[in-house]
């Protein structure tokens, strides 16, 4: 039996305290009802728990989080998954800017669109690999300064090629998959097109399957499309920039 918490009119600190208390008591299912703009939900939260957010959470949802699954039935604000370490965020809607900013592990699934700077400075280390999967579209600076991990942009309702500027500027690790074509002029400094082979399709299959499991779409139809794969020109983008005094 899940713990229900009514978030109506509750400030984020007491709300998070109720969540932490429930998690500490061993609760594995928490439902937050009437969420309206409360920031920092599951901020720094550690544990194996599923938190269902009914409503629209505020910024930095799941920041520094390690382990929990957060399912949002609504849109999310600025930077869900910011500097997140492990766990899953599933957003049944759209999200704001800087989604998955500096994320180093876990997965973020957004059913619809995200704003600017999605997956900016995501990074990977050994077994820690972050994944950002977006069903709709993304704005400029997607994957900028990216140092590791995977961004998968499905553009399910888009027509025409991806045309947002500053794509993966300064990328020095990780990869960005975009379903369909990408305008050449979008590729920023340090970002290069890489071949998309059948083995790459096999690698993104589990992500597409997970997306479809959450949001109910046709795996085969999505996977069948053409994809553009973008990666780093070098792991040392600034190696040749300096001379010693």
């Amino acid at each position: 039996m899940a713990t229900h918490i009514d978030a109506a009119g509750v400030h984020y600190t007491p709300l998070n305290q109720q969540v932490r208390t429930a998690v500490a008591a061993g609760e594995t299912e928490i439902v937050l009802d009437h969420v309206l703009g409360q920031r920092f939900i599951a901020d720094g939260l550690v544990g194996e728990v599923t938190i269902t957010v009914n409503g629209v959470p505020g910024g930095d949802l799941g920041m520094f989080m390690r382990g929990p699954t957060v399912v949002v039935h609504g849109n999310a604000e600025h930077a869900p998954g910011n500097t997140m370490e492990a766990g899953t965020i599933v957003i049944h809607g759209s999200a704001g800017d800087a989604v998955a900013h500096s994320m180093r592990g876990g997965k973020v699934f957004v059913r619809d669109d995200i704003g600017y700077r999605g997956g900016i400075h995501m990074k990977a280390y050994h077994e820690k690999r972050p994944y950002l999967v977006v069903g709709g579209d993304a704005r400029s600076f997607l994957g900028e300064h990216m140092a590791g991990g995977t961004i998968l942009l499905l553009r399910l309702n888009a027509t025409g090629s991806f045309a947002e500027r500053g794509l993966a500027s300064g990328i020095h690790g990780g990869e960005v998959f975009i379903r369909g074509e990408v305008d050449d002029r979008c590729l920023a400094v340090g970002a290069v097109r890489m071949p998309f082979e059948e083995e790459d399709r096999a690698r993104i299959r589990p992500l597409v399957e997970e997306y479809c499991r959450y949001f109910g779409a046709d795996v085969g139809a999505i996977l069948a499309g053409e994809y553009t794969r973008i990666g780093p020109e070098s792991t040392r983008p600034f190696a040749g920039k300096y001379t010693w005094e």
């Binding site: 920031r39 910011n82 400075h121």
Partner: protein
């Protein structure tokens, strides 16, 4: 002409009368300046010398000397040798010049033109040997007023909730120098020193190596734009958290640790792959406004249960006072202001030498603005950037700082000669290097004692200076500009500093 063939920067000589061919200079120089030739040691490549003095320190016979600029250029007041050589360098490479340590231009120091006061006859000075001198400082928010409540038993209880503060026994802390920029042994030495002297040090943006965990109660953990090494455990370990927005040595730009310094241990601590550049973007990409900063401050507090003070560090730039006033309203507990003389392992020379303003003016302007707006109690002010001695610290406090960070001074205490070649990663003193044989040269126990000695010595000097001025508590020194006089400073600067001229 081959534009690469500039004159020698340093000329190294060995006095053959004194040299006993022990070979310590060869072993100690990682730049390959010396060589054995037959049964003699010769200076093979004087050009490789950085004037780090490691060979001189290790020579048992005082046989080595180093002379700077042994070759004269035609003298010219504008076209200095440095100006010409920078052009030769960039004409050859077409690149940005990378430099180490702080601002290297011969700009006048404001601290040196501020003079401290002392008592004579009336209002006698205080002898710190006899009277207790109160140097203990609390960093963090202070309530604007206190509310009390009487309990049923008649006792009086404090009703006001006091925000967490850091208690320091001396106003001197050690600033943020990351593992990666400096070695683990250097960080361990600093950690031992702050543990010993009751103060704190910063981790820098490099995460916290497990060997530092025993000292974590004395560490301020940094969250910078790359978020390297930042996870919930790291945040919970620190005594306080510092958001780094900018740095005095390179305001407005990010930083990057070159891949060759990202070995297995640095890789683990920063949580990035080995050999990859560690790139900290210029801005935090989740902070594009003062409201966003407030969000990060609160997010860090929320993640750590509102138990830790959160500092925000900025470089001293033209509008530093207005920026600090914004930070005071962001929920931050302290603002760190880093002046244009602040040190660094590596910065573009053009930034190091030309961007930012002096810490003296910045601190005074920040303190004044916060007081004018009635929010001085909302944040502590920490000054850093080129503080060389106890007098600089005392003057910074009299200009309005609560405490200071030192960086270069602490490294000099461990042997650093300010050669400014940190970016090469070959520091012969084991400080700014990750090469195991060089790191092993730095004994954390011994150098920790040296740094602690320095902090003790400066703390004693501050007590003496305060006593001489008839002040027995650091609160009475803070912002006490009446104890400063400006010597040969112009009227505009005296106004900014809110200090009168000597004789007035």
């Amino acid at each position: 002409m081959t534009i690469g063939s500039v004159p020698l920067r340093y000329k190294v000589t060995i006095d053959p009368e004194r040299c006993m061919e022990c070979g310590r200079c060869i072993e100690n120089c990682p730049y390959g300046t010396f060589r054995k030739e037959g049964d003699r040691i010769i200076v093979a490549v004087s050009r490789n010398c950085t004037a780090c003095h490691r060979c001189i320190a290790m020579c048992p016979r005082d046989a080595i000397s180093v002379v700077e600029r042994p070759v004269d250029y035609r003298s010219h007041p504008l076209w200095t040798p440095e100006a010409r050589e920078a052009i030769y360098n960039q004409a050859r490479t077409g690149k940005i010049i990378l430099a180490g340590m702080g601002n290297a231009l011969p700009l006048p120091s404001i601290f040196d033109r501020l003079l401290l006061d002392a008592c004579q006859v009336t209002n006698p000075s205080i002898d710190p040997l006899r009277e207790p001198m109160e140097l203990r400082t609390y960093l963090g928010k202070k309530p604007s007023k206190l509310a009390f409540r009487r309990t049923e038993t008649g006792d009086v209880e404090l009703e006001t909730k006091i925000a967490p503060n850091l208690m320091i026994e001396t106003p001197i802390m050690i600033g943020h120098m990351s593992y990666g920029a400096i070695s683990l042994n250097a960080q361990l030495a600093l950690a031992r020193a702050v543990h010993e002297t009751g103060t704190f040090m910063g981790t820098g943006e490099g995460g916290m190596h497990p060997d530092l965990h025993p000292y974590q109660d004395r560490l301020i953990v940094q969250v910078a734009s790359g978020r390297f090494g930042v996870d919930i455990d790291y945040l919970n370990r620190g005594a306080a958290i510092e958001i780094k927005i900018g740095q005095g040595a390179k305001p407005g730009i990010g930083g990057h640790l070159p891949g060759e310094k990202v070995g297995p241990d640095v890789s683990r601590t920063r949580m990035i792959p080995e050999g990859s550049d560690a790139i900290s973007p210029a801005p935090h990409h989740d902070i594009y406004s003062i409201e966003d900063l407030a969000q990060l401050v609160r997010s860090l507090k929320e993640a750590t249960g509102w138990r830790k003070p959160v500092f925000v560090k900025i470089a001293a730039v033209h509008n530093v006072a207005a920026i600090a006033a914004g930070i005071a309203r962001s929920g931050a507990d302290a603002v760190v202001v880093d002046g244009f003389r602040g040190g660094t392992g590596a910065a573009p020379k053009v930034f190091r030498d030309h961007v930012g303003i002096p810490i003296e003016a910045a601190i005074s302007a920040v303190d004044q603005k916060l007081r004018d707006q009635g929010v001085r109690n909302e944040v502590s002010v920490i000054a850093s950037g080129g503080l060389r001695n106890a007098a600089d610290v005392t003057k910074a406090i009299a200009l309005g700082a609560d405490a200071v960070y030192i960086g270069t001074a602490a490294l000099v205490a461990m042997g650093c000669r300010v050669c400014g070649t940190c970016y090469r990663g070959l520091c012969p003193w084991g400080i700014a290097t990750q090469r195991p044989d060089l790191v092993a040269r730095l004994d954390p126990v011994l150098e920790g004692e040296h740094v602690a000695n320095l902090i003790h010595a400066w703390t004693m000097e501050i007590s003496e200076l305060m006593g001489a001025a008839g002040i027995n508590a650091i609160e009475s020194l803070r912002g006490n500009r009446d104890r400063l006089r400006g010597y040969m400073l112009d009227e505009g600067l005296l106004q900014v500093l809110d200090v009168r001229t000597v004789g007035a």
